[in-house]
Every structure is written in C-alpha cells, then in structure tokens.
Subunit: 329 residues, 2 copies
C-alpha cells in the first residue's frame, strides 16, 4: 500500500508534534520539514527526518500528498494558507475565530484553482470542540452550550504580562471555575459570562528591583485581558518558572444542556472533555488524522476549502468502512 | 422555505420521542405516524398529529421526505428497514451490534435500487459513542478506548429476571463501577473486563408467597446475564416499582486515553459523556437530526445505506455553512 506522503511547514512545538504524531500512523510517511530558517540549524526529533528550506516546497508538488501548515495564525497562516493551497492539499490550525470567514474565502479560492483540498482551523478549539458545539446544538435545539477552557496556558495573556515594565517572564493559566462548571453540569442552564466561568492565574518573574506592587496592579487592571476577571498573581524566581511551568498542558470541555419532553420535563447533558499533558502534541495528532481526510477527499476528486464540519468521521480513520462498522459502530 | 416532511413508523417510547423532538425543529414537519395497530387506538402526544395504518405508507411516497423507523431491532427493523428503504429515505436505530454488517448490506441494496438514502444504527450507542470511538482512536492511535454504560435500565436484563418463576416485575440498572472509571480517567490504561466495569442493580417485585431466596440465587447465578457480575438484588413492592422506577434515565461515557511524545511521556484523555433523564427522548432527538442529514444527502443525489461514520457534522444542523463557520467554529 502506498503511504500518504506528508510535508510539515514550520518547525515549532506544533511542527515537532506532527513529526511525532506521524510516527504513530503506519499509513503515512514524513517527506520533509520545510523551514524559513537555515535547514541545518533545525534539529528534528528523529535523525532520519529531512529538513528543507521552505522555498524548495514548490518544486516538490509530485512528492508530497498533504502539507500540514504549522505556522501561527497571526502572521504565518494568512499568507502561507492561500499560498500552499495553490500547490498542495493542506491542513492547518488557523484559530483567529473572528477572521475565519475571510481566511476560508481566500484559501477556498486557491484550492479551487489548484484542484486541491484545504482543511482549515483543525485542532481542538477550533476543531473537536466546534464539532461538539454543532452536533449537540443540532440534537438538542432547546438548550444551552457552554465552553470552558483549561487548566492551560494562554499564550496571548502570558505575552500581555510580559509587555509590562519590570516583567522578565510570565505564564498565565486559564482555569475553569469549579462552581460554574457544577452549575452547568446540574442542568440548571445558568447565564454565565466568560468572567464567571474562568479564573486567570499568573506566574511572574520580576526584574531585579522592580516594583512588584505596581506590576500586580497593572496586571489586575489591564482592560480586556484581566480587569474583568478574578485574577491571581504569584511572583516566582526564574528557576521556579523553568522547573514548574515549562510543560504545556491544556484542556477544557464543551457542555450542552438541553430539554426534551412534552413540557421540557427531561434534561440531557452532553459533555466532551479533554485533559492534555501536551497541547501542541495533541493538536498535532488531530492535524495528522485530518491530513488523511484531506488526501482521501482529494483522491475522490474534491477541491476547495473545508472545515471539520464538512468531514465525515470515517475519513479520519485508516480502517475501511467494513472494519469500522464491525469494530467500532 | 419548504419544510422536511417526516413520517414515524412505530409508536412506542421512541416514536413518541420523535414526535416530541420534531416539535423543536422548525425546519421539519410531521406528516404522520404509521402504526400496525388500529390507528384510532393510538393517542399521539399532540392532538393534531395524524395517525395512519402502516399499510398506507407505500401510497404516500410523494408526501414524505424521510421515514424515521422506530421499531425494535430484534423483530421490526430486520424487515422494516429493507422494506421502507425501497420507498423512502430512512433513519433507524438498529442496535444489534453483531448483525449490523448484514443489516447494512440488505438496507444498502434496497436504498441503491430506490435511489434513496438510509442512515442505519443512529442514536447514542451505536451512534454518538461510535463516532467518539472512531475519532479518538484515529487521533490517538497509541491508546485504549473504554465504553461505560449507565446508570440506566437494561431492557434485556430486566426481561431475563421477569422470566424467573415467582417474579411479577423487575428492573435492572447497569451502573459503572466508580473505581474502574477513576482508573481509566487517570490515564493508567488498565485492562478491564466488562464485569470489572459494571455492576448490576436489580429491583424485583415477587409474587405473593414466592421464595425470595431462590429468586435472588437464580438471578445471581444466571449465566451470561449475571453470574460474572457483581449483582445486587432488592425486593420492592409493586407501588414502589411504579413510584420509583418508571423513569427511563440512561447515560454513559466513552474515554480514550492515549500517549504522545518521543517516549510516550505525555497522556491525553478524551471523554464524551451523556447523562439523560429520558433515554428514548434523547435517542429520538438524535434520529431527528440525522433525518435532516438523510434528506440533504439525497437532495444532492446520494443513495444507499450510510452510518453515522459517513455523515459530515454540518449535515445535522439547519444552519448554513457560513453561519456554522462564523458562529460555532
């Protein structure tokens, strides 16, 4: 059986996660990592992995079935998504929610022209959480959906703290508030603002001699990011930061609470939850499964942009329809 | 906008659940209930619902877009599934796991001939649980999947108790064993037999003067059903049975625990859980959403049998692709 040949564009935590994830997929093989850095400066997880310059990708159209784009949503993907969709089937994790419609449109144009498939915004949110929001709302139209994130690091909030004068390093964990979660699980359909659902837990390394009281005040009063939330600030040393806060755990849950019956007398609670030791490795594993789907859809003649909403579950699995029906249905 | 016209075949708890579920779907309308009983003997939930004889269905091919088959898997569906697939798009909840491949084949032949779509084995298990088993295995190939059922009534086990001499009525609840659940949630990937995962809790009304010790012994030693399980037997009165055990709650969860990383050093836990006050009303709500998908797939020219594995999530929702991408992704 011919293996699906995968390329990885961008080698940060996510790209490395994809390299590791592919090692667990016997039906796929890694053709190479494409980087903007000098290729010899990149150290892949496996010594046999080829590292190439990103400019070499265009010449390898016949050697790669799906490109997994592992760049960031702010600066890399808005350019790389439409560019690579002109050349390859692609999968990416574009996650700037507000800009998804615009990004979809651009990638769709490229992929229609090239006759390739591009699955955008793949991962867990957007991604698996989105699928659960859609399916549970369709099944229980009379209800409420709640998404909680965490416990996990928010990169944007950590960066915001780092921009404060006197801050050397910072990590911000988003933590679901247990009381809110329990209310939702009880089926009482509470009205909850984001602030009532999450607490912001900040670990800060201050520069020597910096005014910690001012830093704490600036964090807690920062508009949009912290002012509206219950925010905890803990100052730690650089060693503690490295020792206790270098892992990348994350997780969260989507809960739909809906009513059925002649008088809405019955409640159904559907919950989908994730608890991840490594957010980038898990997201990468989702991307790898959707790369399989992208390749299959294109083999069937499909082209254009897709989201996780458009992909039949069977396309994610290496098993045949018969196997799936007899083993997993 | 033309509404999707739905027919219900069979009016037990599930059929009634579909009647109620459709009332929550503004894009669908109920054309009628089809029953083998004298139509005038059936009392629908809503007075305006039409009740017709099942033999009248064949003459209504142009008046119904999708038939939701609400009969049982043991006797009704093996006949009704292939029969109705010759006439209508259909959705059913066929749940005899071992016979799904054979049933799929027969329904597929009918639906291919008629040019209709039949989505079989829809509900939560088989159904939503199956989707989660498939997707989480595809995403985390290096891992284990665990399905727990309950707390909920097992009809088959309740019936088995009722066949014992001296038993007037019985209900058997399947209950997940908390200790096993916690082991799985911890990511330790334990080996667990069904017996280590579930406890069987039986409520029995004995005939007057019956030998309760013998009944309890016969239950606990019954091969296949109880002998291999931790089984609890409680004798109650007929009034208690009616007062405390007439609801139809159910639920359960699918947990995938998988490893990622260069040395399997990171664990991901994915959990999908259901807590249902009314098992038939929830299952019916799933059937209604998949009826929407059946109709759309057929509108696009599709024909033949499908399972939940073949249905893109977007087809379940009344919202457009644009709406889904901007609101739920």
């Amino acid at each position: 059986m011919q293996k699906i040949r995968i390329g990885i564009v961008g080698y940060g935590n996510l790209g490395r996660g994809v390299e590791l994830a592919l090692a667990k997929c016997p039906d796929m093989e890694l053709a190479g990592i494409f980087t903007r850095r000098p290729p010899e400066s990149v150290k892949p997880a496996f010594s046999q992995t080829k590292v190439l310059h990103i400019d070499d990708a265009a010449g390898m159209k016949d050697l790669i079935d799906v490109m997994i784009l592992c760049g960031g949503s702010a600066k890399d993907l808005p350019e790389q998504g439409p560019y690579f969709a002109k050349l390859f089937n692609t999968v990416d994790s574009f996650d700037t929610h507000a800009k998804i419609p615009e990004y979809y449109k651009k990638v769709n144009e490229s992929a229609r022209q090239s006759g390739k498939i591009s699955i955008i915004s793949v991962g867990w949110d957007p991604g698996l959480f989105s699928i659960n929001r859609l399916m549970t709302e369709a099944i229980l139209p009379d209800g409420q959906t709640y998404t909680f994130w965490g416990k996990g690091v928010s990169q944007g909030h950590s960066d915001a703290i780092r921009r404060i004068e006197g801050v050397k390093d910072a990590k911000q964990y988003t933590i679901p508030i247990e009381e809110a979660v329990e209310k939702v699980r009880s089926g009482s359909n509470p009205r909850l603002t984001t602030r009532e659902k999450h607490l912001r837990d900040c670990y800060v390394v201050a520069e020597e001699g910096a005014d910690k009281e001012r830093i704490e005040r600036e964090i807690k009063t920062m508009p949009n990011y912290f002012a509206d939330y219950e925010t905890r600030v803990t100052f730690i040393t650089e060693e503690e930061m490295k020792r206790d806060h270098s892992a990348m755990p994350h997780g969260g849950f989507v809960i739909r609470s809906g009513k059925t019956g002649n008088n809405e007398e019955n409640t159904s609670i559907i919950e989908f939850s994730l608890k991840l030791d490594s957010n980038p490795e898990f997201t990468a594993s989702v991307l790898a499964a959707y790369a399989r789907a992208a390749w299959r859809l294109n083999q069937e003649g499909g082209s254009g942009a897709r989201t996780v909403f458009d992909i039949p579950p069977a396309y994610l699995s290496p098993k045949s329809g018969e196997e799936l029906r007899s083993e997993l249905l």
